[in-house]
Symmetry: C2
Subunit: 409 residues, 2 copies
């Protein structure tokens, strides 16, 4: 008889965000007359930028004519997109990368999970806490995380707490770890690392031979100069870091699916004999074998996001969302609530009122204020006692949600 | 230091199809004046069906307006598509499935690989030989295949030879296996299993508690009545089989990316204590955690493939390709070459002339006839001495390629 992968049984029954959707649906069934306002979601509300839409219509027309139809594309992405990425996302930062170091995919989420496949299952690993839950969950699925303790922590995961006490800047560990996941600007706390703070991490990785998986999905929300957009702005990072990017929160591609991963030629890990093995060809092999890349139409849309019109449209969208963030921050301040983030990131991390637990606060706000937030505990043990707000709602919904919270308090 | 997944080092340097592309590129660089004809590729040449194109333009317009924009979709696919699949692909065959048993994805290739993640790494497994290489390769990557012998066979893989001697109908094994991959209509041999022949496999699986991964990516090419389109046409299959489908070779979605996987509620595997665990929730958990589904625009395109216009357009395309298959078969017959398949499948499996090895034949045909075929050995040890031809080229290229082969012989 076939045996299952037992690690799956260690997981909570539902993926965190699916769980939230289930609770919302339960509310809707019992309260069909209530209009919910969703202010916790990491999902954009604005339509695709016109530049992307036009490019995708054109690409679709190409796909409809025999002379211009395209079948299977290169698994690692079309060079028109890869070259555009290099020119716009890295060259201006003084970062030199070659086309074969960029791998276009159907999104940062899959890459973040799949990257673990090229690494041994029993590497030690660390994550900042709280953080986007898929880092931990994808590692649970392959057994790397060990077993779950009663405190919700996994035995083989080192948690690097990001708390009020340390200003949400995690300390580098006092011992060596094989793999560390960093996400900056951070989901869910909305906080960032300065160049100097990120350098500490790269130096730690260089000294301890640690691989950093750097999730930079929100880099476009950075506007302060002291904050690096890419980990490769730090000297030496190309030896120790893989960076993951997304078009979801820039071009609004959450429902379209496109992202990319940078695996520099210099980044290596060891085989069992201690020989250094470049990770770039392993990832190339993984992607060629297990994927057929992302849609040609989507890739043309992503390319157009870098056109002058596309860039302008995206800049306006981000400004719109960040104005939401300002409104949320100022409303919270007026209510006397404690919050963090929301300056260089679309997330605002809010301490629950009256010391409520995250889920309790979520449920009370859902049932009493008809506002949906995201419970902080879903992002890790240090998320308890917090909720995540996001800047992605429409302006009037954002304002109305803050007003409902004010009345509810 | 991080350790790599050593199983990756056991793989050949390049994925089989990437290897072919490299050889073709090398030829093109040295022979820029030669026009190659590609007659071995499993990639469609006809543009997307107009019904799909129209639906995708409409979906794209929805994505461009605030009122109709959609962000993250359900990870397992939109219900408009799932319900359409159930109604058109299964109900007419008398197969009852529920929406939560269908998982829409970015393609059959990724599903075929990813499905192994919910199963223990050391299950025993079998594959027909020759077959689509990703079954073996995805299992090599997680260590399930063992080590590679000098004969090119993997120590923990049971090869079920499909040869001229058995008419390309594999024998069920004489002992039990945990997992078996079947692909019918078959890639690369173009052969099929009748209802009676497939029933033998389902009975074997029921008796031996074996899980069948059934790849039915080419079912639309079946026109003979005795050949089942879905494994669920066989009584009992819902207990033992997962079926994978694709829009690549029907709606021409090789560059658009959409497929789906059926995981019936009844199909189970065991945990270490021998308790039966349904695989459906494990796969649901895997997909929710590691994926954000496939593009909304793509899913609207896939839905339109089932409209009356879409069905008619696809029918015409398949008829076009199968007319190519007929031309290829008749040309081969006139040349006195031995071939199989091409009746209920777009592939024709051809014995190399003069007992040439697969790669030798590939290279000679590339350099001497400027025709690109696919070497059979890439599909497994029993593929040696064969080449795969495909019916997907344009008509004139198909005819010209056959003429070149005739002159070359």
């Amino acid at each position: 008889m076939a045996l299952i992968n037992e690690h799956f049984l260690k997981l909570q029954e539902n993926y965190f965000f699916s769980d939230i959707e289930k609770k919302i649906n339960a509310f809707r069934v019992t309260h069909p007359e209530k209009k919910l306002l969703r202010i916790g979601r990491g999902d954009v509300s604005s339509p695709l930028p016109p530049a992307c839409v036009e490019a995708m219509h054109r690409a679709l027309d190409e796909m409809s004519r025999e002379e211009t139809f395209r079948g299977y594309g290169p698994e690692q992405g079309y060079s028109f997109l890869i070259n555009t990425i290099l020119k716009h996302d890295f060259a201006p930062l003084g970062i030199e990368l070659t086309p074969s170091e960029i791998f276009v995919s159907d999104g940062a989420k899959s890459d973040t999970c799949n990257i673990g496949e090229i690494l041994r299952w029993d590497n030690s690993m660390g994550i900042t806490d709280p953080v986007y839950p898929v880092y931990a969950e994808s590692n649970i699925m392959c057994g790397r995380s060990g077993t779950r303790g009663e405190d919700g922590k996994w035995s083989n995961v080192m948690y690097l707490p990001c708390t009020e006490a340390n200003g949400f800047v995690p300390e580098t560990p006092d011992h060596r770890l094989d793999i560390i996941y960093l996400c900056y600007p951070n989901n869910p706390t909305g906080t960032t690392l300065t160049h100097r703070q990120l350098k500490k991490w790269v130096d730690y990785a260089l000294k301890n031979d640690t691989l950093i998986i750097y999730d930079a999905a929100y880099e476009a929300y950075i506007h302060e100069k002291s904050i690096p957009h890419s980990i490769y702005e730090i000297r030496g990072a190309k030896k120790v870091a893989i960076e993951i990017r997304s078009f979801s929160k820039t071009a609004g591609f959450t429902g379209v699916r496109c992202g990319y991963t940078v695996v520099p030629k210099e980044v290596t890990a060891a085989n069992i004999n201690g020989e250094r093995i470049p990770l770039n060809p392993l990832w190339y092999r993984r992607q060629c074998t297990k994927s057929n890349g992302t849609s040609y139409i989507t890739q043309r849309g992503a390319e157009a996001a870098y056109s002058p019109e596309g860039q302008q449209q995206i800049k306006e969208k981000i400004a719109y969302y960040m104005e939401n963030a300002r409104i949320i921050r100022e409303s919270l301040a007026r209510m006397g609530l404690t919050y963090y983030g929301g300056i260089n990131a679309p997330y605002i991390w809010v301490k629950t009122p009256d010391g409520l637990s995250s889920w309790k606060c979520f449920e009370k706000m859902l049932y009493e204020a008809n506002v949906v937030v995201t419970p902080g505990i879903g992002f890790g043990p240090s998320g308890e006692g917090f909720i995540r707000l996001a800047a992605f709602a429409k302006r009037d919904e954002c304002e109305e949600a803050m007003e409902r919270i004010r009345r509810w308090l």
